[in-house]
Amino acid sequence: MPFRPVQYLRRLARRHFAAQDLPDAGEGPPPADCLRVEAEGEYAPCRVYRHLDDNEKWLRSVLGDSSDLVLRRTQVLGPRGAWREALVCYMEALADPAAVADAIMRAVTYEAGLLGTRLRQLPAGEPVLVHVASVRWVREWREVLHGILSGDTALFLEGEDRALLCATRGFETRAVEEPTLESTLKGPREGFVESIGVNMSLLRRWVKTPRLRFRRLMLGDLVNVRVEVAYIEGLAGRELVDELLSRLNRIKLEDPLGSNAVAEFISDTPLAPVPLVLATERPDRAAAALAEGRIVILVDNTPYALIVPCDMGMVLASPEDHFVNSFFAFLNRTLRLLALILTLTAPGLYVALTTFHTEMLPTAFFLRLQAAREGVPLPSLAEAVVMGVVFELLREAGLRMPRQVGQAISVVGALVIGDAAVRAAVISPIMLVVVGITAITAFAIPGYVALLAMWLPRLLFTVAAGVLGLFGLAAAVTVTVYYGLSLRSFGIPYFYPYVPSTLSDLKDLVFRAPAWAMVRRPSQLARGEPMRMPYPQPPAPPPAGRRRGGGGAPR
């Protein structure tokens, strides 16, 4: 790493002032600036004080006079029957008041008194009794504050330079519901929710292996967003995990952080108009990605999981494919591929054929086309571009409106505007057909982001076809393919598994092989453990004579 003198001096100065500003435990409250968390550990850790007065003062100075802040002094009976001063702190809006009252307040005072004799036998490291399943001692204010702001209750004891963080989160979360954008007919109906804890449990339920690892990171200096990086040890490449963690650790942000912002921070090509980090709301899809050696990123307050590396095969795949017969999956995927080609090129083909290559069309058909276009003031290119924009407007408006109004907008767009425009000879009827084909084929492609990503290349292809016919269209497609081929997601070529590809990769591309035949994992991933199963396991029914009931009919 090259030596950078200015940054070195800056870091030195920061350390110097940090050392001055952050006193040891027992001294006066430090400034709020000590809450800044640096991944490199440039600041000295700011620890909990031994005296309750200092702790209370510190908490009040940092959290202010927020109306939902609860700070309550109480007496705690500890080992050897000694009563000690204690301070309970939680946020009323986030913690469950009943849990705080029963599991902590009642336990530390009333029940501890009843069990005083037994409490004397508690080890010295456990000087308090609480009825909470998840407790942990923390020493740094950073952890204490994050716990309190996440709904935990912090219990401070006089003379202890640490706090007991009790899990009392009680705020309302949305129940697990069916995914809205990635719904399936036969697949599971569970989708991720905003609570990261629930999302982790959903993943754990799908991937019941002790090798599943979660790495926690706190991102955003101001808002401290919790991010969990999930991967299967040994399957996900070590370099891949390290690269992702280093990209995440580089994020310095003061604003709230959603999964999309995280994706933009870690993307290989941030301005790419295609998703290089896949967002999914399906736990089964995230689990399947984990089993392939990919990494899943969960961001708190976001009902999506991010998957890296992401390739075009993932973007074009539907979760439904793995819940139907492989033959039907093949048909569906073929249709989607055809839909992709059509939605990208249909307007361009129309423009090219009606403008440059009219000799390709049968004469009678061409004459009917010309008759239909009679009186239309716009050339084909302008017609296609305008209708493309109108279609995108209707789609966007339909999404923003409530469901009932959205349907009305669709009807207005499809019938009223289209019909009126044709009657007024603003556009030709065939153009409506082309726009309709474009729209239907676009919606056949799974994933809302993929739908958005089609817009720009479609416009480019249409304009190119309007300028140089099919030749221009071919040139624009080629350049777009070059660009797509140059993209990578965490080192994996974006066009993988189309190119580069191996024979085993082709088993889950357009044609989906039966589950028993997909022996290998994707060749670009999980290189340490490339095999899903030791050998193909085709179903092998017993011979006819050994079947129950004596086998089949005699021949």
Partner: protein, 379 residues
């Protein structure tokens, strides 16, 4: 491994890696687009009834080229031809030989570009000025070359789909008119026509020698060997099929009358009659996809070669200026298509290809005589 006079080998930057499959696609892109259009006419006029046999005979040229490239890459692995020449012949002679190789590549680029412009202009956009088409083809090639060899090689794999499209429309068009008797008798006029057609076609298949420029990007010398052999065989197979079908359908005389007999035949195809009157435009567009990749590859090879001759690590800044020069030169070629094809197919391609093969052979010979590089590597 050390270079001549004990100098270390030239510094290399991290480079892209391409597989044997991608190399085959890349090599096929070099010979196939031009061979499928113009070769039937040329070998028919040179070899008469023997043309289809001469194509096969010319394909033998791929074998020594494959062996030559593999042997050189085995001795001096992970180096392009210019660097290999520098190691074998010394700094300045290496630059001269490398420069000659780049010059040959440039000449092929110029003619390929002009042929593409003429073909597209004639068949799909007759009212568009040639310079517009030349600029568009060049610009897309610049984009591909800018992204690098890895991207171009993978685009070549995808362009294989266009081969399928072209064959789907071409082969059914020929079959109803096919008569095997038109392919015989062979050797009726002695071996002369056969050898002439073999010589012409050897020039087409021998264009895989240009893979020497990208030898540094292959995983291993064996991958280069597989790519060269596969590309030569693939191009040969498709080209031979086109020649056989064209001569069987129209006879050698009929084929030799047209500049692009394949397109003339496909005009009679009526498989999509209710929807499309003419499918030859689709064939041209399918062909264009591979032609585009060919142009991107050639521009990359020129830029890479010039960069190595000048001792530059990054060839990307050279892509645009070189492309502009080559594009301008391509427009100064013969005015009419017939003259262009005659000059190109009978003179430029065979001579340039033979010259490039000779340069590679020279480098390998010196390397072997001086016992440079890694002995036994890549075998």
């Amino acid at each position: 491994m050390k270079g001549s006079a004990g100098r270390p080998l030239p510094a290399r930057r991290p480079r892209s890696q391409i597989s044997a499959t991608e190399g085959i696609a890349l090599g096929t892109c070099l010979a196939w687009p031009t061979a499928v259009l113009y070769l039937p006419s040329v070998v028919a006029s040179e070899g008469r009834e023997n043309g289809w046999l001469g194509v096969l005979l010319g394909g033998v040229a791929v074998i020594p080229i494959t062996l030559l490239l593999a042997a050189l890459a085995g001795r001096l692995p992970r180096l392009g031809l210019v660097d290999q020449a520098g190691v074998a012949l010394g700094r300045w002679m290496g630059k001269v030989v490398g420069g000659l190789f780049v010059l040959g590549t440039g000449v092929l680029t110029i003619y390929a570009l002009r042929a593409g412009v003429e073909m597209v202009g004639l068949l799909t956009l007759p009212r568009t000025p040639p310079w517009v088409l030349a600029v568009v083809i060049t610009l897309q090639g610049v984009v591909g070359a800018w992204f690098g060899l890895e991207v171009v090689a993978r685009a070549a794999v995808l362009a294989f789909l266009s081969v399928g499209v072209v064959l789907v429309f071409l082969v059914p068009g020929f079959i109803p008119m096919f008569d095997a008797r038109r392919l015989f008798p062979v050797l009726a006029e002695g071996p002369g026509p056969l050898l002439r057609s073999a010589g012409v076609s050897a020039g087409f298949w021998g264009q895989v020698i240009l893979l020497a420029m990208s030898a540094e990007s292959f995983h291993a010398p064996s991958a280069l060997r597989a790519a060269t052999l596969g590309a030569g065989a693939g191009s040969l197979l498709v080209g031979w099929l086109m020649v056989v079908l064209a001569q069987g359908a129209a006879g050698w005389y009929g084929v030799s009358r047209f500049a692009m007999p394949a397109i003339e035949v496909v005009r009679s195809v009526r498989v999509l009659l209710p929807l499309l009157e003419r499918v030859d435009v689709l064939v041209v567009i399918g062909w264009t996809a591979m032609g585009f990749v060919q142009m991107a590859w050639l521009l990359w090879a020129c830029a890479r070669g010039v960069a190595r001759v000048l001792g530059l690590v990054d060839s990307r800044p050279l892509v645009m200026p070189l492309a502009a020069v080559l594009c301008a030169l391509s427009l100064t070629n013969p005015e009419d298509l017939v003259t262009l094809i005659l000059v190109w197919t009978r003179t430029v391609v065979p001579l340039v290809t033979a010259g490039l093969a000779g340069l590679v052979a020279l480098v390998w010979l010196v390397t072997a005589l001086r016992d440079l590089g890694v002995r036994g590597a890549g075998r």
